[in-house]
Amino acid sequence: MPRALAAFAAGGLLAVAGALMQVLLRNPLADPYVLGLSGGAAVAALLSMLAGLPPFAVSLAAFAGALASAILVFGLSHGSGSWTTTRLLLTGVVVSSGWGAVITFMLAVGPTEQLPGMLYWLMGDLAYARSPWPALIVLALSSLILLPLGRSLNVLARGPLQAAALGVAVRPLEWSIYASASLLTASAVTTAGSIGFIGLVVPHMLRLVLGNDQRKILPAAALAGGALLVLADTLARTSIAPEQLPAGVITALLGVPTFLYLLYRSR
């Protein structure tokens, strides 16, 4: 049961973070990892595994790594003067591939007996989930804080100039989206490793069904993302029982075709 709760919380966090990032970057195809958060988390987590630290320390390291990556990307894209969402996106993509190289390096030099654990973590695995409560609390709190912002996010989705002309304080809003999406993703990664596709596919699918009103999308993403990850984790544990698959494999197996189909259909 704690594992199911943890899966629900992590899935909800990822889906909400994805919805936020998509509005922030004004790109419906952005996901919570696009700014390198999962890479930073993974590098820190793998390092602590190599150091032989206990699971809770691995989780803490992942959290710290994700936040460090978010701050790094934000600082770099800030440069001298103003940041644009394009620069943010590009910096995130480049930093992510940097983390990717570091991860590959660590896997290459890591001791063989540690490799399965590291690979499982990378693919997203709830076996490390200990207590679901931190993630659940973050999910509940963020939903409460973000809900009143829904309409401002709708206006922001029309572009920063139009939003400013309609009375939205664009910079502070973008800041808070960035900070909260990073926090949400970091909590999710800490709970469940880097599980892919939930943050990308869930908000996108909901948009097709509900339209692009963030007042509906954000709470719906929390629920649907949570439900999807619980389902994926259950499948992961039962499909080849007694062996277990990492949940990230299932979300990717479900997510990739769904997403390609959506893209194909949307001209």
Binding site: P148, S152, A157, A165, R207, N212
Partner: protein
């Protein structure tokens, strides 16, 4: 009754000398045209007037109070901007798009009321978009999107309208419709300022004009004094000739030998 005053305003265009500082007031009921060649700073001026850009120097007063003293939301209740470029990356319906004009009037947790709906529907009807309510914006033509942008601005119920190329993408009938809408807003004592490329639209529909030159020079005043052949030829670096019809003068590019 809201006036927008420019006080020694120099707009911030990178790598350009200050030129002439702008000082005039857009009074309620006046319709100002901003004219100038490409790159003269028409859009920059409009964005600066809306408080979306910082001026290099000088200031702007809305009702004798500096623009910078207002909160963004207060400004949005007074000033509406119709942009030249719009971002429609996410799916949205026509009615939803018009309704975002109510945003400045709503507290964060408010939901649109029947009144808001009615204001938005009236604005859509004024732009002949009432039968399009549930259409996705991405399925509209350029001209229909332009009319929708006006409906959104009308839903905002501003005291001052700032419009960048209001007739962009519009067929002749809808050009007249938009200009009539702006004229009606002006006769309801609202101030209007629009960037235009068409000198003849300015002379037909505007009470005042400001000419912006690429080097930062500028002059302004009542439209009939400003819209004179030598000044306009100078402004656009293009020989013009005048055609007359029903006592109205129209400026057209002159035939030249190398044309």
């Amino acid at each position: 009754m809201v006036s927008l005053t420019l006080e020694q305003l120099v707009i911030d265009i990178p790598a350009r000398a200050d030129g002439r500082a702008l000082s005039f007031t857009i009074e309620p009921g006046q319709r100002w045209a901003v004219l100038g060649p490409n790159g003269a700073g028409k859009t920059t001026l409009l964005h600066t007037l809306a408080g979306l850009r910082q001026p290099r120097s000088g200031r702007i007063l809305l009702n004798n109070r500096p623009l910078t003293d207002y909160r963004r939301k207060q400004l949005a209740r007074q000033i509406a901007v119709v942009f030249q470029e719009r971002f429609d990356g996410f799916p949205a319906t026509v009615l939803e798009t018009a309704l975002i004009g109510r945003h400045p009037y709503m507290a964060p947790w408010d939901v649109e009321t029947d009144d808001d709906m009615q204001i938005a529907r009236q604005a859509l009807a004024a732009m002949s978009l009432h039968s399009y309510e549930d259409r996705l914006v991405s399925t509209l033509s350029g001209g229909e999107r332009q009319r929708l942008a006006f409906a959104t601005a009308k839903t905002q119920q501003p005291a001052v309208w700032l419009a960048d190329e209001p007739t962009n993408h519009l067929d002749l009938k809808h050009q007249v419709k938009i200009m009539k809408l702006l004229a009606a807003e002006a006769s309801a004592q609202r101030g209007i300022c629009m960037c235009l490329h068409d000198v003849n639209l300015a002379s037909r529909w505007c009470s005042h004009a400001i000419l912006l030159y690429p080097d930062g020079e500028a002059c302004w005043g009542p439209a009939d004094e400003m819209l004179q052949l030598p000044a306009l030829q100078n402004l656009y670096d293009q020989k013009l000739s005048i055609a007359e019809d029903n006592g109205r003068r129209y400026f057209v590019p002159a035939e030249t030998d190398d044309a």
